[in-house]
Amino acid sequence: MIVVFVESWNNQFKKASFEAVSYARSWANTAGCGVRAITSASAENASQLAQYGADEIATLELAQTGAGIGAQLAGLVGDAQGVVVAGTAMGKIIAPTLAALTSGALSTNTTGTPKSTSPVVVERGAFSSKGIETISLNSGLPIISFVPNAIGIKEEAGAGVMTSVEASGADKLTTNDVSVASGKVALPEAEIVVSAGRGLKGPENWGMIEELADVLGAATACSKPVSDIGWRPHSEHVGQTGIQVNPNLYIAVGISGAIQHLAGVSASKTIVAINTDPEAPFFKAADYGIVGDAFEVVPQLIEELRAFKAAN
């Protein structure tokens, strides 16, 4: 069995949750075994995981924090051949906790499905996307935490047998308060990211960036100095020392393309740079570019995209 932890929040799955099941299915197909999904979503909601390849779907009450869930999972993965966790903020806590408690072999930041299964060999991002490491999971339970968007969601029917289990263990943290912006696309798992830098001159000019993101169903991001001076929240800072993203499309507006910025975004499948300076380093990392003033180009782009969306 490949066991996959399927994250849910208030009984809602994330995109990365379905992708995790797809990842487990792909691994299980190579290893010649089944997929067991473990989730705290309701049984009714969880039954849809069969569409992505879950053969068994175990629902249970789980702890609230990543460390609590990791400890609970350690008691539930006894017979597993491998474990999959999506590399969300919570998954990044669950996977190493589980690895420590099961004395497992962990690959985080994993960018593809296993190239071989005994031992498990996978590719992962290293040196902030400046390198690709091939890692072999030699001894102990193989555990893979993958980068959201790494393989995408694939539909493939699994047997979908529902079970319910119980976990022991509890949170060591008391949660005082959780605030999550509703209706916004979360940056690490966004398929499209619209990002802007100091070229925007001031926080009052972000209206057009949010509008562009809205039209595209994208998440918004920014360069480091923009969050340092408080034009945008720290949680939007992408780059080597911020959030690392790998969307299908990354649009950089008024960002010079410093090496530290590129380190966090260069894994994006397609990059568009909009910058007044034809010498801006971002043009060396981009697939498409417009040399021009953001204040003229972005409003036009919004208009063209609206027309495109209306026609398609």
């Binding site: 906790t97 004395s103 072999s136 080597q240 020392t241 690392q244 060396k284 498409y288």
Partner: protein, 247 residues
Amino acid sequence: MNILVCISHVPDTTAKINFTADGSALDPSGVQFVINPYDEFGLTKALHIKEAQGATITVLNVGGPETEPTLRKALAIGADQAVRINATPTDAITVAKSIKNHIQANAYDLIICGQESIDYNGQEVPAMVAAFLDLPFVNACVGLDINGGSATAKAEIDGGHASYSCSLPMVVGGKKGLVEEKDLRIPNMRGIMTARTKPLAVEEAEGGGHTAAVSFAKPAAKSAVKLVPADQVNELVRLLHEESKSI
């Protein structure tokens, strides 16, 4: 109060990354190594706590002798003593076990790691240390208040923030926000002088390893950018739809 700050020794953010000819490891030639940027926030936070209520700050690195200048720099910034656990840190779980052993042999109230090292980008060691020691753990920590024997911490979660409380000792995976960037400390002349005589102990590492790097490679180079004239934005939309299939 005893604070342990775990310090990773990593290539400078502007470093060009190359691998050895056989692809087995990082080629360190021409690379400058620095304190991992995430750990700088933790070190300054520890200094703030020390100044507010008194504390002894130990900085720890799992690495070979070549990492000692990085530990000396942390001492110059204001840590009281340093520990190097002698090993080549190739596997997170083994690094975490070495750190766990050190913590068990010493009494710490607070263990601050960086959320991530910018070399291997594992985000593994802090959670593992907490799990091994059965201690509370807050990752992506962007705010920390210590009140006597307990703490409240603010963490980034996907799409927002959470606030937690726990009793000490605890483990923190910190980042910018733990202190502000403008408050980060750099060594001054007096710090550099006193750092030379501060204790730096070398301890034995835990052996073994569960994972192994098979090879390293650089990502494929991008082909040249396609420039679209600023007055033909519709052409960009067409390319994004028909060529790159991004929309």
